[in-house]
């Protein structure tokens, strides 16, 4: 009897998980399709898109710049003292490119976006569900995915890519400016060494990662927001889940992309 009940429970859980997985995949492809059609649609939320870029991209510039500068300066300091001690001073530039452009830059930008916009999107949409605002959109014929999800997805993706470029600029060049106050380096020498190790592939990988992270964060956050059913207490939970899932998926995607690059 107990074994039967346990098996039944396992079966039910498995069925629910599978249903959730397929529902999530269906949502993802729906958002993808609507994103492609976004600019053709008449009922498009251009205003929502602009506001999302303003909030996710523009308003995050300062924190992104501070983080990029701090990391760039730290690598510069470590490189110019520790690595130089082993006669490997030039490795500092390779390290700078790997950390700022390829690895930490996109990931830290993703963390900033998750913390600021992921939670905001999930809780805002969740609040709208509870207040029946989403149903009101459906009632007048507005597709919530087209009008509410897609502009947010596009806004987050565009912002992620712009923020990553911004992070690179501040991490690679801004840190040079700060270094002039701490441990001056000749500009020409710095640039020459940097350009020697920087490849288009490094920049592209950073952009590809930011694109993937942007899609993950925005799709997960809108999905979690729409998944709220009826209670206001579900709204903060949706925010927490959006953050948790986005963190995990971004880290997994980062590892996968890095593995593809280094093993491929």
């Amino acid at each position: 009897m107990t074994v039967g009940l346990s098996l039944e429970r396992i079966g039910r859980t498995l069925r629910e998980r599978l249903y959730g997985l397929f529902y999530g995949l269906g949502y993802f492809f729906n958002v993808l399709k609507e994103s492609i059609l976004f600019f053709k649609r008449r009922q498009v939320g251009f205003r929502v898109l602009v506001m999302q870029i303003l909030f996710t991209g523009y308003e995050a510039l300062r924190i992104s710049a501070v983080l990029a500068l701090a990391i760039g300066v730290a690598i510069n300091l470590i490189g110019s003292s520790l690595l130089a001690g082993f006669g490997q001073g030039k490795l500092m530039y390779t390290l700078l490119i790997i950390v700022v452009t390829r690895e930490l830059g996109p990931l830290l930008t993703a963390f900033i976006v998750i913390a600021r916009s992921g939670t905001a999107i999930a809780t805002e949409l969740g609040g709208m569900v509870v207040a029946h605002e989403i149903e009101a959109y459906v009632a007048v014929g507005v597709n919530p995915i087209t009008y509410l999800a897609v502009p947010r997805v596009l806004g987050v993706v565009i912002s992620m890519m712009v923020l990553t470029v911004y992070f690179n600029v501040f991490g690679l060049f801004g840190s040079f400016a700060v270094m002039q106050l701490l441990k001056p380096v000749a500009f020409q020498e710095y640039m020459k060494n940097l350009v020697e190790v920087l490849t288009v592939g490094d920049l592209l990988l950073g952009l590809v990662k930011s694109l993937v992270f942007g899609v993950i964060i925005s799709v997960v956050s809108t999905y979690r927001g729409f998944a709220v059913e009826r209670s206001t207490t579900e709204v903060p939970v949706a925010g927490i889940r959006a953050v948790g899932t986005s963190f995990i998926l971004c880290i997994v995607a980062d590892a996968a992309l890095t593995a593809v690059l280094y093993l491929g």
Binding site: V138, V140, E229
Partner: protein, 317 residues
């Protein structure tokens, strides 16, 4: 009454959070008639209305608008359905991040591409006046009282002069004057042969407006029939919900001024009025007859002519 119902539900069931909200609900709404659904708290009234309006997708069964399955409609057909129907939410459900003006203008901007900004402005002002809201429309919904929000919610549902209006507890949270205004609008819609579906716990609304009445309990449609039949329903389980319904003495009267407003709105939207269906029997007669056929068992889950559903009784409700 036209042959084809404007809305038909066939075996509709809905679940939420592991609970069954609706169970095998079937009925049809006649064109040009006002149908009132009554039921206690948690009986599934609002979900039923949302399923009929295409807002909630049923887990079982299907909803048809003039014979077309909502779930099989193309995007264009779906848009057309929403243009021809309006929904009044129990809690108004106004878009909090938009002004009242934008709340009212969005349906016009979405469906009436030919309208200039000035024409949209005129239509918005007219519909706000209709519901008796005379304050500034630049405000946000959060600045309004619950009653005012409900009036704006009603105005939003009416702004496209819909052929079919769904109303969830239309008089809830309203003061007496506003409630009376809403009642006048419902009567006016009825007089203009608009189809109206109302869910309400108030037998007063049923008494004043219902051409047909449905009774819900625990997600099941216990009974569905004309008001004249409903007056004679004597099943205690139904009586508990409906109270003692009174026979109506006169026809439902529409407000002439409100009808004139609605015609003007339809004109400004460049529409022709929908074909006027034949008068529902009760209204055509001018008063409710109580000596018609005795209440018979509804078909599986009810029909637009059925009485209390005997077969549901057998399922041990």
């Amino acid at each position: 009454m036209g042959d084809e119902p404007i809305i038909e539900l066939r075996g509709v069931g809905a679940h939420r959070g592991g609970f069954q909200i609706l169970r095998e609900v079937s009925f049809s709404l006649a064109e040009g008639a006002t149908t009132v659904f009554m039921g206690g708290a948690g009986s599934g009234k609002s979900t039923l209305l949302k399923a009929a309006a295409g807002i909630v997708v049923p887990d079982e069964g299907a909803v048809f608008f003039r014979g077309k399955d909502l779930s099989r409609m193309s995007r264009a057909e779906e848009l057309e359905f929403h243009r021809r129907s309006g929904f009044v939410f129990q809690d108004a459900a106004l878009w909090a991040n938009q002004s009242l003006y934008d709340n009212l203008a969005l349906p016009l901007r979405l469906h009436e591409h030919g309208l200039s900004a000035a024409e949209v402005g005129r239509a918005v002002a007219r519909v706000a006046e209709l519901v008796g809201y005379s304050e500034e429309l630049k405000a946000r919904p959060s600045e309004l009282s619950t009653g005012e929000r409900r009036l704006i919610g009603l105005a939003r549902a009416l702004v496209l002069d819909p052929e079919l209006l769904f109303m969830d507890e239309p008089a809830a949270y309203l003061d007496e004057t506003s409630a009376e205004r809403v009642f006048e609008i419902i009567a006016s819609l009825g007089a203009r042969r608009r189809s109206v579906a109302i869910v309400s716990g108030s037998s007063e609304i049923a008494h004043r407006f219902a051409d047909s009445l449905g009774v819900l309990k625990a997600g099941r449609l216990l009974a569905f029939g004309s008001y004249a039949e409903a007056v004679r329903w004597d099943d205690p389980a139904i009586r508990v919900v409906t109270g003692r319904l009174r026979a109506r003495k006169g026809p439902v009267q529409g407000d002439a001024a409100l009808s004139a407003w609605a015609d003007a709105l339809a004109g400004s939207l460049g529409e022709e009025a929908p074909p006027a269906p034949a008068r529902p029997p009760d209204r055509a007669a001018g008063e409710r007859s109580e000596a018609e056929a005795p209440p018979g068992p509804a078909d599986s889950g009810g029909s637009d002519q059925g009485g209390p559903a005997a077969d549901i009784d057998e399922e041990g409700r």
